[in-house]
């Protein structure tokens, strides 16, 4: 057992950190409002931000959009621990980076795509030129994902798509939908689903942004009206999409902004040192100390789940309990951290960022709202518990 980074890991960590400090625009970490765990305040949603584009371009040049991909596919050929180290440092500085194509689409294509598909898509993804949004959820199919109704009907060399997707995070700033659609309505729900890639620019695609409770346009509803998609855009085999999606869940497992928790906690802690009440720093108050210590403890536990998951992936083990626990635990932490911040700040907590009186640029009030998305998005806490219980512990289905 050795919790230290190896020399190679340590060197990579330093390299990543140096790069971020040098290339991220000045003051970015402080200005970026992003709340760890949430999906509602990501800076990536701001359209045509030249800083983000430039930064992503530099990441692509270093093959850092795809740390753990093999080099032949445009990746950096590094380990999962190294990928985790990268995510940890990036999220600590709230740097923009990962998205669906690099984290989920690419790895899935590598595993199940045809040679032709690999040649067409992997280089584009690795260069950051093909950004995907996750076209899974539908108005009546959220947690019960297999009940999706969007249809894909064969028509010669094409498929014709009709239906609606919703909660489509970043669809408005992406290029392609990474979609599941029903191709066999007569088969069992899991067996008639196909995974495919749909160009946002196709005629018949309508993207309508939804404003989330943070006031940001992070997600959308998307309508498909007789959209024509070439059959070569099917990932793997027709009707096998559900299986691919389940496997692809593995690739999302390290997408936890673990460093963001630490950074935000440090900022709240700093606030308690600088804020005085009756001549005494808030940090001297025993109740505040206890609350902050509790957060420090939980963040450290979250880090352990994070490293453990990365380590297991490198060992070829399947971290299904650990991955769901990581998601469950960190999203609860997102909420606890927001509540702790609110309690520490009292009246200042709810002030919006525009107020001259706002502390930490209104980060905590944004977080108080955004943590809701953490608990609901990418599989609710309840779904994570179901996975742990049934897949992990072997408890029987209802």
């Amino acid at each position: 057992m050795d919790f230290r980074f190896s020399d190679r890991e340590e060197a990579f960590r330093t390299e990543v950190e140096d790069f971020i400090k040098k290339e991220l625009p000045a003051g970015w970490t402080e200005k970026n409002i992003y709340w760890p765990g949430g999906y509602g305040t990501l800076s990536e949603f701001e359209e045509a931000n030249p800083h983000i584009e430039q930064f992503r371009h530099q990441l692509a040049e270093r093959s850092w959009l795809n740390i753990s991909w093999p080099k032949e596919y445009g990746g950096a050929g590094r380990t999962n621990i190294e990928q985790a180290i990268f995510h940890e440092r990036m999220s600590y500085y709230r740097a923009p980076g990962g998205e669906v194509a690099t984290l989920i689409g690419g790895p899935t294509i590598m595993l199940f795509g045809s040679d032709e598909m690999k040649k067409e898509w992997l280089p584009k993804i690795a260069r950051g030129e093909a950004r995907f949004w996750l076209a899974y959820s539908e108005p009546n199919a959220g947690s019960d994902l297999a009940s999706i109704q969007t249809r894909a009907v064969e028509d010669g060399d094409d498929l014709i798509i009709n239906g609606q997707k919703i909660w489509s995070t970043a669809a408005h700033v992406s290029h392609y939908a990474w979609m599941i659609a029903r191709t066999d309505p007569n088969a069992a729900p899991h067996r008639g689903i196909t995974l495919l890639i749909v160009d946002n620019q196709s005629p018949g695609v309508t993207i309508r942004p939804l404003t989330n409770i943070c006031g940001s346009q992070s997600f959308n509803e998307v309508f498909f009206d007789n959209v024509v998609v070439p059959k070569k855009n099917i990932v793997g085999e027709k009707n096998r999409g559900w299986y691919y999606v389940m496997v692809a869940l593995d690739f999302e497992r390290l997408v936890i902004p673990i460093g963001g928790f630490k950074r935000t906690f440090e900022e709240i802690t700093q606030y308690t040192k600088e804020t005085k009440h009756n001549g005494q720093s808030l940090s001297q108050n025993p109740l505040i100390r206890n609350k902050l210590a509790e957060m420090a403890v939980e963040i450290e536990v979250a880090y352990m789940f994070f490293w453990q998951t990365a380590w297991m992936l490198d060992k070829g083990l399947v971290p299904n309990i650990e991955a769901s626990v990581l998601k469950l635990f960190t999203t609860q932490l997102s909420q606890k951290l927001a509540n702790t911040g609110m309690q520490v700040m009292g009246h200042y907590g709810p002030l919006e960022r525009e107020s001259k009186w706002a502390s930490l640029r209104g980060r905590v009030q944004a977080g108080y709202l955004d943590c809701i998305s953490a608990l609901v998005g990418a599989g609710t806490s309840e779904i994570q518990r179901n996975i742990i219980a049934m897949r992990g512990l072997g408890l029987p289905r209802a």
Binding site: D2, M304, F305, V325, I388, L395, P396
Partner: protein, 377 residues
């Protein structure tokens, strides 16, 4: 980063689980819990033969040269089977202190006896204030012509009822800094003036009141440097705190396994109760708590093992493990329902020990105060 156990540690873990299941069935656990000694000398000798009592001592002292992490692996399994007895007191509190601070002569005398299963030890630190800090050490040892005379009351001392020697932490000098002037004495438990009284506790762990009434101790029985014993005590506390976490993790893991099995077997409303989402979510919460506790405990243990600064990690591990393992055993009770509320069922044994473990070496609030300090608050 390498987060797995070594092959040897995996083997130790498996063989310990098998041995304890076979040699220490719950019936024996209950019997020992109700007995005055709290342990079986027959079982003790078997454990000594397996090399457990000497696991962490160098070979030259009759041990097998294992690491602190090896000991943690073993303690987790002991906690899994809630092994009663003075292993923790003798090896962790006593043996590791002697190993760390004893003179060559003391080590040569004591450690082989521990390893062979012939000597039991404990550490007497806490007093009626029940705190684990230097200012709370009020028991006095006054230097005389040929040694010291100890007076004071120690409380909540584990296994003093059976210990051959008690490492008594006493104040030999009063100064501005309460950490100065503390000395550790090796006291023969049969010395005149030593009086131990067994306390009845929730977990039936054998905690004692030990009164030192004009107890004479020769100069040669000072462990480490006179007046400068606190760093040694602190070092032992660090190790013992992580070691207690390991025991608790093992206990919580066992409670989880028992509850999951029951949830699969127990049928109500014509289906196993484990198919109900409420029960499934309890189990998922238990896994989260147990695994988190294990990972954080092993990280702290690794730091201690490496001799790295570990105040923060140890406090974090104990703060989390104390409360997580309490939650786990409570949820297990909720799953077992009424049967778990009987003396016949085993789960209450784990529920009791989780509380004992939480309090020993400082509970969550105590540890979080340390974390806050380490955070620079």
């Amino acid at each position: 980063m390498e987060l797995g156990l070594s092959e040897e540690q995996e083997m130790l873990k498996t063989s310990a689980r098998d041995f304890l299941q076979k040699e220490c069935p719950k019936q024996l656990v209950r019997q020992l819990d109700e007995s005055d000694t709290g342990y079986s000398s027959e079982l003790w000798q078997k454990m000594a033969k397996l090399g457990w009592t000497g696991l962490v001592f160098p070979e030259k002292y009759g041990g097998s040269g294992g690491s602190f992490l090896d000991l943690i692996v073993l303690l987790e399994e002991m906690g899994h089977n809630i092994l009663p007895g003075p292993f923790f007191s003798t090896v962790v509190l006593g043996g590791l202190t002697v190993l760390a601070a004893g003179s060559e002569e003391q080590k040569k005398d004591i450690l082989p006896k521990i390893a062979s299963g012939d000597m039991l030890l404990t550490l007497a630190l806490t007093e009626p204030s029940a705190r684990y800090d230097a200012p709370s050490v009020k028991t006095k040892a006054v230097a005389g012509t040929d040694g010291h005379v100890i007076n004071g009351t120690k409380l909540f001392i584990p296994d003093a009822n059976v210990a051959d020697y008690i490492l008594c932490v006493a104040r030999t000098k009063k100064g501005k800094n309460p950490e100065d002037g503390i000395t550790i004495f090796l006291v023969n438990a049969k010395s005149p003036g030593v009086k131990g009284t067994l306390l009845k506790t929730l977990a039936r762990d054998k905690q004692c009141e030990v009164v030192f009434d004009n107890v004479s101790v020769p100069q040669s029985n000072i462990l480490g440097k006179p007046d400068q014993g606190w760093p040694t005590v602190k070092d032992t506390l660090q190790k013992a705190t992580v070691a207690k976490c390991a025991e608790m993790v093992g206990g919580a893991q066992a409670a989880l396994e028992m509850a999951v099995q029951y949830a699969k077997d127990r049928v109500q409303f014509n289906r196993p109760i484990g198919s109900f989402q409420a029960i499934q979510h309890y189990c998922a919460n238990m896994v989260t708590d147990v695994d988190g506790a294990r990972f954080i405990t092993y990280k702290a243990a690794w730091k201690v093992n490496e001799g790295l600064p570990s105040d923060m990690d140890v406090a974090i591990a104990k703060a989390w493990t104390s409360e997580a393992c309490g939650r786990v055993t409570l949820l297990a009770h909720q799953i077992f329902g009424a049967i778990g509320f009987t003396m016949d069922h085993d789960i209450h044994l784990y529920y009791r020990r989780a509380k004992a473990g939480e309090i020993m070496f400082g509970d969550g609030d105590f540890q979080r105060a340390i974390v806050a300090q380490e955070l620079g608050l």
